[in-house]
């Protein structure tokens, strides 16, 4: 099956938040009032029952203020830090179409995925003690529908399709924007996590931080160390300890209470 993706063309986002509403509606999430941060942003951050957030970034360069609106959600990384960190078999699964989905029956609520994710996306629910995030509407894509946010977007800022198609489309759009005067326009598909299934066109791709996106996201090195060499070290020490002491017994035997040789 082809990997599916979502393209977000930030130059077309008008901050209407229709996608936020569609996400809440389709996924049947209760809206809980949060903190008001003094901007148009609905919430300061993603929440366990709020998976799709339009960030309103105010970014100043040379006395010029840009008001950057951008849809934030799980990036459905190709090399997903959440999956790498998760200890519970089957709690985080990659669907045939490339989507990274959580399977809550298997989730134990340890929160390792929160630490493994370079985009700070998964959120623990205080009531169910399980972790939640955008599913790329896996229950819709499974039957050939596009995700709810895409369906509702009034400006064509959001498109759904195969990853290969959308990457090409994104490149074309970046060229178009460059011709329009946004010389730094480009595609955000960070290679540090093997590329993402949520792809952005940014008007200034040289500075993704101004949109609230990490510049060079990778799985944190301590997480890679933890799940690689540290595991190996542990296996060596545990097996070495058990086998080593066993063979020590075979070779040297127990210490008997005979007279000490120095006597």
């Amino acid at each position: 099956m082809q990997t599916v993706a979502k393209l977000i063309d930030t130059s077309l986002c008008i901050g209407c938040k229709a996608c936020e509403v569609a996400c809440q509606e389709w996924n049947d999430q209760e809206f809980t009032l949060g903190t008001f941060g003094g901007t148009y942003q609905t919430k300061p951050e993603l929440e366990h029952n709020f998976w799709n957030l339009i960030k309103f970034n105010e970014y100043e360069t040379d006395g010029q203020l840009s008001w950057l609106m951008m849809k934030y959600q799980c990036m459905h990384c190709q090399d997903a830090g959440c999956m790498k960190a998760c200890p519970a078999p089957g709690a985080i699964v990659r669907l045939d179409n490339g989507t990274v989905d959580f399977n809550h029956d298997n989730c134990i609520g340890c929160g390792y995925c929160i630490t493994g994710c370079p985009f700070d996306v998964p959120r623990l629910s205080p009531t169910t003690k399980k972790v939640y995030k955008c599913t790329l509407c896996s229950d819709r894509t499974a039957v050939g529908l596009e995700p709810a946010c895409i369906k509702t977007c009034p400006t064509n800022c959001l498109t759904f399709g195969t990853r290969t198609d959308l990457l090409r489309k994104a490149e074309d759009r970046a060229v178009e924007l460059q011709a329009d005067g946004s010389t730094h326009a480009g595609v955000y598909n960070p290679q540090g996590v093997g590329g993402t299934n949520v792809i952005y066109v940014l008007k200034d791709a040289s500075n993704p931080e101004s949109y609230g996106l990490p510049k060079d996201p990778t799985i944190p090195w301590t997480v890679s160390l933890w799940k690689g060499p540290v595991k190996l070290l542990g296996s060596v020490i545990f097996l070495g300890g058990i086998l080593g002491t066993f063979f020590h017994y075979i070779r040297f035997g127990p210490k008997l209470e005979e007279e000490h040789p120095d006597d």
């Binding site: 519970a88 390792y112 997480v223 540290v230 545990f238 020590h248 127990p254 209470e257 000490h260």
Partner: protein, 206 residues
């Protein structure tokens, strides 16, 4: 028979041991997907996730009591330092030239200090891992290394400890179950301690 551990020491030791074994098994269940079956045995992943930190905290508390009782007896003396240099001879049961030990030999003392340090690390990093949603990210990124590394070190130490007490030095286990050892055992393995205790008893008898 010579008394070695009183009931208080034995109680604390087994509190530490039981909680450690629970914390270690439940922790290992979450350490590797290949060991997740341990979680199933212990009541399921959610149960293990919820109870492991409590097991760990009771363990750390019990170890705190153990530390208070024993720390003063665990200082290395000059014989112990020579003992450590000769420890390969001790390990090969060829003890010519290995200095005699007091109540604890240098290996036991080192184990005590190492386990105490690892427990402190396990406790601090465990508290961070416990609340991923409120702990700062940098602390969590450190804790995911410190916690398993300290666990590996302490489980490794305990494998050695169990081997020594239950297999390699016969007669040791009874010191921690019933509290006493034979004079022969004391003389062979902890001579300085044997001499002290028998001297005290001689004086009493006189």
């Amino acid at each position: 028979m010579i008394d070695r551990f009183n009931i208080k020491e034995r109680f604390i030791h087994w509190m530490v041991a039981i909680c450690f074994i629970y914390a270690a098994l439940s922790g290992l269940a979450m350490w590797s997907r290949h060991l997740f079956w341990i979680a199933t045995v212990l009541g399921g992943g959610e149960t293990v996730r919820a109870l492991h930190p409590w097991g760990g905290i009771i363990f750390a508390l019990a170890l705190g009591f153990m530390f208070r009782n024993w720390a003063s007896q665990m200082k290395l003396d000059s014989d112990d330092k020579v003992w450590l240099k000769m420890s390969h001879r001790y390990a090969m049961n060829d003890e010519a030239g290995v200095p005699p030990s007091g109540k604890y030999n240098a290996g036991q003392k080192m184990l005590f200090w190492m386990q105490s340090a690892f427990t402190l690390l396990l406790f601090l990093s465990g508290m961070i891992l416990w609340f991923p949603e409120i702990m700062p990210r940098t602390l969590r990124l450190g804790a995911v290394l410190v916690h398993p590394l300290a666990a590996i070190g302490s489980i490794g130490g305990i494998i050695l400890h169990i081997y020594m007490s239950a297999f390699a030095v016969p007669g040791s286990l009874r010191a921690m179950t019933r509290g006493f050892v034979t004079p022969g055992w004391a003389k062979a393995h902890h001579r300085k301690w044997f001499q002290q205790t028998t001297k005290i008893e001689d004086e009493r008898a006189r």
